[in-house]
Subunit: 218 residues, 2 copies
DNA sequence: CGACAACTTGACCATTATCAAGCAAGGTGG
DNA sequence: CCACCTTGCTTGATAATGGTCAAGTTGTCG
């Protein structure tokens, strides 16, 4: 306990930011903000899961991130959002006015530090995701996804590390991993046949062989 | 000219940061820093091109970004780099001590603002790249790449918008676009046959039909 | 119980990867 | 100055991963 706060000079960055905003709830599949809308707010997930995505003219979709409790989304440099955000399931988010946030950050070093921490977390996730989309096989993508979701769910809500709830549909997973829904389904089946995971139901996954999964993770 | 500085409340963020560092030069293909090394510096490109990349155990490589003059790289939240950086060609970079940078940013709002601008620019490029890697075809990837490089080269060095110099090898392009070297080569040949581009030499590209390229860009 | 959405599975296909030559440009040493 | 080698690029033939199209199955909600 000696120097307990050493890892978080900016203790719980998401809380620092969320404290400045008002909680809002969104129902499954409802839009939190749309591509090209005026970017007036930054958001922090309180409960539930949010997907942040880009759409191409012909309907192809790339989900850039699933945001779990504690994650922030809606950062922009310009004055408009460059992607849309939707509730994957029923969820609560803290909505913080950008103007308020930046005004306060100027005079509040703890807040400024929290903003850094949150936006960098997003950058790092994006960078890891580039490697996945550019160079990993379907099996590696799914394996990485499951491990990551398990780790982050555990961190955010204290869920088990070996049992993952999938709040999102197969289509969402496919659009996140740069695959099709069929390939995601087949890959999960294949991992189950290899006894790497088991699927007690389509939205619950047990990680049976974590070392096999970690091997897929690279 | 009236309100000339409106777009850059933090005028030329890269210059503000670069001013704090010392210029260093690197020769073609030399390493600027390696994955997992202690992250003591942040860098700004002054001239030349830098590639920032991740490697997998079996040698697969993903280039996360090509950094042109004015771009910054080497941001980290933790104390170690999570990727490596190498000189694509002879290049000069400003090397800034992280400790100095962050100490000064605390008391210098212009600098703090410049840091935001630079790191967000990186985040946005990463996010656009996710869509490319996850959902675009080979032809779309190459088209997007050429347009982007032309635009950024023009912005950084005043180069022409219709003639692109490729400072990087086909292998670098492939590892950036999530393709193989052969597919990049074939795709360029194919675009030339369609009269969308021409290739006076392997490292020079003329953008003949920008609207066709923009259609590929989505 | 019926209807609908979400998921799985199968058969076939296409894009891109792999493997293997061949070619062009640039540098070096005789 | 030229033969030789190296490196980087292109092209071709073939293979494989993942995509597409089409049925089925499961599960949920009225």
């Amino acid at each position: 306990m000696a120097k307990g706060a050493s890892t978080d000079e900016c203790a719980r960055p998401s809380l620092v930011v969320a404290a400045l905003g008002a909680p809002v709830t969104f129902s499954r599949n409802s839009e939190i903000f749309g591509d090209d809308e005026l970017a007036e707010h930054v958001y922090v997930v309180l409960s539930g899961v949010v997907r942040v995505c880009k759409l191409m003219g012909d309907g192809r979709r790339q989900i850039e991130a699933f945001c779990l409790p504690g994650d922030a989304f809606g950062w922009e440099t310009g004055d408009r959002y460059r992607f849309s955000a939707e509730a994957v399931n029923e969820c609560r988010v803290a909505r913080v006015k950008r103007s308020v946030l930046f005004a306060r950050a100027g005079s509040n070093p703890e807040l400024a530090c929290a903003l850094w921490a949150l936006s960098f977390a997003e950058l790092q996730r994006a960078q890891d995701h580039l490697l996945l989309l550019g160079r990993k096989t379907a099996q590696e993508r799914v394996g990485t996804f499951l491990l990551d979701l398990a780790r982050r769910s555990a961190a955010a809500t204290g869920a088990s590390l070996t049992e993952v709830q999938l709040p999102m549909s197969r289509q969402d997973i496919a659009d996140f991993l740069g695959l099709t829904i069929e390939t995601v389904s087949r890959t999960l089946t294949c991992l189950e046949e290899q006894a790497t995971i088991s699927l007690p139901s389509s939205r619950r996954v047990l990680l049976r062989d974590r070392s096999a999964l970690r091997r897929l993770d690279s």
